[in-house]
Symmetry: C2
Subunit: 348 residues, 2 copies
Amino acid sequence: MSSTSSFAAQSATSPLAPHQIDRRDVGPQDVQIAIEYCGVCHTDIHQARNDWGASNYPLVPGHEIIGKVTALGSAIEHLKVGQRVAVGCFVGSCRTCSSCEADLEQYCLNNFTATYNSPSKDPGGFTYGGYSKSIVVDKHFVLTVPDGLDPAGAAPLLCAGITTYSPLRHWDVKPGMTVGIIGLGGLGHMGVKLSHAMGAKTVMITTSKNKAADAMKLGADEVLISTDPIAMQSMTNQFDFLLNTIPVPHDFNQYIPLLKVDGTMCIVGSVGPTAELNTGPLIFGRKSVAGSLVGGIKETQEMLEFCAKHQIVSEIELIKIEEINHAYERMLKSDVKYRFVIDMNSLI
Amino acid sequence: MSSTSSFAAQSATSPLAPHQIDRRDVGPQDVQIAIEYCGVCHTDIHQARNDWGASNYPLVPGHEIIGKVTALGSAIEHLKVGQRVAVGCFVGSCRTCSSCEADLEQYCLNNFTATYNSPSKDPGGFTYGGYSKSIVVDKHFVLTVPDGLDPAGAAPLLCAGITTYSPLRHWDVKPGMTVGIIGLGGLGHMGVKLSHAMGAKTVMITTSKNKAADAMKLGADEVLISTDPIAMQSMTNQFDFLLNTIPVPHDFNQYIPLLKVDGTMCIVGSVGPTAELNTGPLIFGRKSVAGSLVGGIKETQEMLEFCAKHQIVSEIELIKIEEINHAYERMLKSDVKYRFVIDMNSLI
């Protein structure tokens, strides 16, 4: 075991503050990583504040991790010390169920081990995340970061990036298709960049006219203002796929008529009871509402290569660790373009 | 124009009663049919009673029609007088949109013409349905009934049959799959028969223990009682596909965990606002909720051939036309196994 400096929540009401966390020793299959950057996800706020009633304290958030290898287990040959690597939303899964065997560890039938706040054999009994100087992770869950990707901007790819990349790939987004990205935040801005890079006609669907210019800069071909009934009506039956990134409960029924016959709206933002489903628009067009959760390890690596090839990273605001509590307050007001990333060198 | 005896609702509150309806003359592309049998669908009650606020009176219900050709338009060569034919839920569509070109007339982007209560150039300005001695229909929308299918039992195939067959086919139900049919009524009993004939392990999911024996007789391999939480828990992640035939608003969220990763629940029964959608179970398994509406003409013909091959018809109670108002009352109490069919010879 070795101790490492981290930022942790001590209770549901305490702000994040410095804390010493024990990390497990480096086993034969383990990679020890010095964390350079950690992205800040909305989940971090929910977990730090026990919004979902399942937080265990001390709780070290962070699952958008970029760093460099500092030690390698004896059985690892494909990585080297000093190499830049990444860790996303989970650090373990059963590796034997049908989902794991299909490279879909995110849907592990025996439940994946989340990067933080998951029961674990690690010291402390729970996993600790990336608001920390270092982390020790099983090699299967360690991604390599391709050369040429800005490491700070790449951090949010590990959650916001893969959360949008995976459904766009699963529903086979490609040239000739029209894709709507609903909501322009951390997820939505990645969705626009990725859909554009996949060659689809990409439409940002937002309530806010003042987000239109930004959306076009990010790669949107058009902007559809969802509060304009005439504009919405004019786009009926136009979309092959909708990626709904709105992070809060909302009436999603208004978007279904935008889909072509057999089209799908995939929800990745609002988790839980969201709105009363009107089955009418689904039935009269064989349309679907689906969900999707991050992506598997193989697909996450593929996403990083895709982003390197297309020079895609997240738009970020780089902060010091002591700014994290203020950053949370700003995120709750949607006051960030589009993702905070913590420079972990600021943590002593 | 020729007049024909029909049973029609005269207002939202009037029972169905005898009425003379004018049918259009037989045009070059038209088929005139003497109706032998007409199935009774829940939609008929909704429309007769203006439950959806869009009924036009006099209103002649009926879209599960079996009959014999009595006259053919000059341009028709593939049918002959005396041949047994069928008409389902629609009698017209634009024939030029992408849906129509894909043999999906039910999703016609310019709106199909329903078999009754749709605006029409026919006498009266609206289409009139199958509670009638005869009907005149464009040849494209006339199905042929294979030899060996009991004509009375075949009538409900035109709505209840195709409504369940089409999604089972679209989601590629086949041997090796586990399919759940939710709800045992007119649609559900056809779903069980068809899923079984397609070779899937077929599970009837119902609230009623006393429907178990019937479900097994119809072809179910197992019965899952949805009000038994232990039984439901034991079937988590077991189903490739769920066909939800419950005809009224209900909490469908409880069924989503039964699906395997990437599984779909298709709703065909409850049209309109149905329940608050909990996106959590969709997201943690990339699952979908979809809708489906009857089937296209090509697929409906395929379904009739499939049913002839597998000797599948609906379980019916044959009634005389003067019993129709009583039959409606029984249907509203779910007191029918499993579909009423009107013997049109009883209509003078």
